[in-house]
Subunit: 309 residues, 2 copies
């Protein structure tokens, strides 16, 4: 999966991951109206808004971004209707040729982790294989140790799928636990070394393993140290844009070939119309709202390329 | 929620949490036959097996156990059909007067954690409140720090709902990160202190906060130390039975009133018929399989009460 990702990054010209994290407040009024009329004021209506919203955006940015990252929580909030929208979003993205990283941050022990591994490995029923979630990769929480990671690794070994382990997240309180010093080094460095080890048996043709790491854009020095420490680990970098990270901050997150990372922007892309004075506000804007997402993705591409130089 | 839990523990006479973690291999052949005939060899069929299986077991044990803990991963493995079964299981349990702790181990940052908080807090749509998941409490992963916990706390403050934070899990590799020493103490102690702090504003009438801790039965010394350290924190104790924990190991997990914990058993209760020679094996057993669960729950009650003395 990481090799396919690298190929798509080269093809599109920039390592942008569009975070499909819709919230109700982002929905243009025309979508609210349509879906409330059709489904009443229900979770189903909101889920259908999200789906229409996501599709419009993907239509506008599919030629610019290599991959999308739907955040499953935003869908799970609306129950089964929301999760149906998550699944339809994954399918729509794949039909558009986009790779899909499911931001699920699951983490549990052995037999339970094996169940969550269905996200990338599917499930067998009496000899027939089903793929209920269809993501190309997912994010995983490492707090439970190797027991929680091992069940995902068989699906990574042949290179088809990947996981991204939370190493150093981009949020303000990430340091509460992740930065605490253990044997002279912060916890996240120990997790980084585990991620490196977990990936040893799945190194792809570009030298990167199928076990990536989540490394926030908002902690630049840590990110640079982690790049040196983890030459075989691809980084998923959150925290760009709305959270404060900039293209220039990421200069030393790249490898010597200008690869090795994919940078997520969620609100910055999907809710771009709400901050762009060229577009009408939510209560007036029409389906052109997604053109603001295109514009934002192009601006991000430019910022990333300038930062990489 | 913790006060209601304590009330139910007193009423039923023992702090048993039945883990509803069905896997396909546990299903009696009569259920497979019925559901495959009805739905084909599909995820829907397996989900319906799980639901029938869970209901039979709850019918047999509802007078013995105060609460159940469905592990969402086991359902999520089968996609939307599986999650529909999860939700129906939660509803069935509540109709039986059982409290429900959703074992979801979600953990994410601010706005995303706020979305996951819908599990206990529901969601508003244009002034109407929906409760898409209906659990009384959920388990949470603390790796992302306070940002990931804060959005759940408002629903705990009035005592109606609760969360259980992973502190020291019961699995073999839990020590890889959780036992690492930080400032002279293992990481899990720092998490324990955070859990104590997170619970400060939601202390209920029994002196316990609505922020509980997951503390494994398999690490007895750590459990005892944590009980002393956390006088206001209710413990959800996994690792009993199949994982090796015994009633006698838990003597010092209780508070001076013989309360303070709820002990989970999953396979030991729900798959009891597979280990009990009084019952036929999976390919022959009928709906009486669940009587083995009743027997196992009663044996666990006795073992817990003996251990507590």
């Amino acid at each position: 999966m990481i090799d396919r990702l690298i190929e798509k990054i080269k093809e599109k010209g920039a390592p942008i991951l569009a975070g499909l994290d819709p919230v109700y407040e982002m929905m243009p009024a025309y979508l609210k109206k349509e879906m409330f009329e059709r489904y009443g004021k229900t979770p189903k209506a909101v889920a259908e808004m999200f789906y229409a919203f996501n599709c419009r955006i993907m239509d506008e940015i599919a030629d610019i971004v290599p991959a999308v990252k739907p955040q499953i929580a935003m869908y799970e909030r609306y129950g089964l209707d929301g999760l149906e929208c998550y699944l339809k979003t994954v399918e729509y993205a794949k039909n558009k040729g986009l790779l899909v990283i499911g931001d699920i941050k699951r983490g549990d022990i052995s037999s339970t982790a094996a169940a969550y591994a269905a996200h990338i490995g599917g499930v067998e029923i009496e000899g027939t294989h089903f793929d209920p979630w269809k993501e190309d990769a997912v994010t995983i929480n490492p707090y439970l140790g190797t027991d929680g990671i091992a069940p995902f690794l068989p699906y990574c070994r042949d290179g088809k799928k990947a996981i991204f382990v939370l190493v150093k997240t981009s949020n303000p309180s990430s340091g509460e636990l992740q930065d605490r010093i253990i044997d002279g080094e912060p916890l996240y460095c120990h997790v980084a070394d585990l991620a490196d080890k977990w990936g040893e048996e799945s190194i792809g043709e570009n030298g990167y393993s199928m076990v990536g790491a989540v490394v926030g854009a908002t902690y630049k020095e840590q990110g640079e140290l982690l790049r040196k420490r983890l030459p075989h680990t691809f980084f998923l970098v959150p925290g760009y844009g709305a959270q404060g990270g900039k293209g220039a901050d990421l200069k030393n997150y790249y490898d010597k070939n200008g690869l090795g990372i994919i940078v997520n922007s969620s609100r910055g892309i999907i809710a771009a119309y709400q901050k762009d004075p060229e577009f009408a506000p939510a209560d007036q804007v029409g389906r052109e709202f997604a053109e603001a997402s295109r514009k934002a993705a192009l601006a991000m591409k430019e910022d990333l390329l300038r930062g990489r130089e």
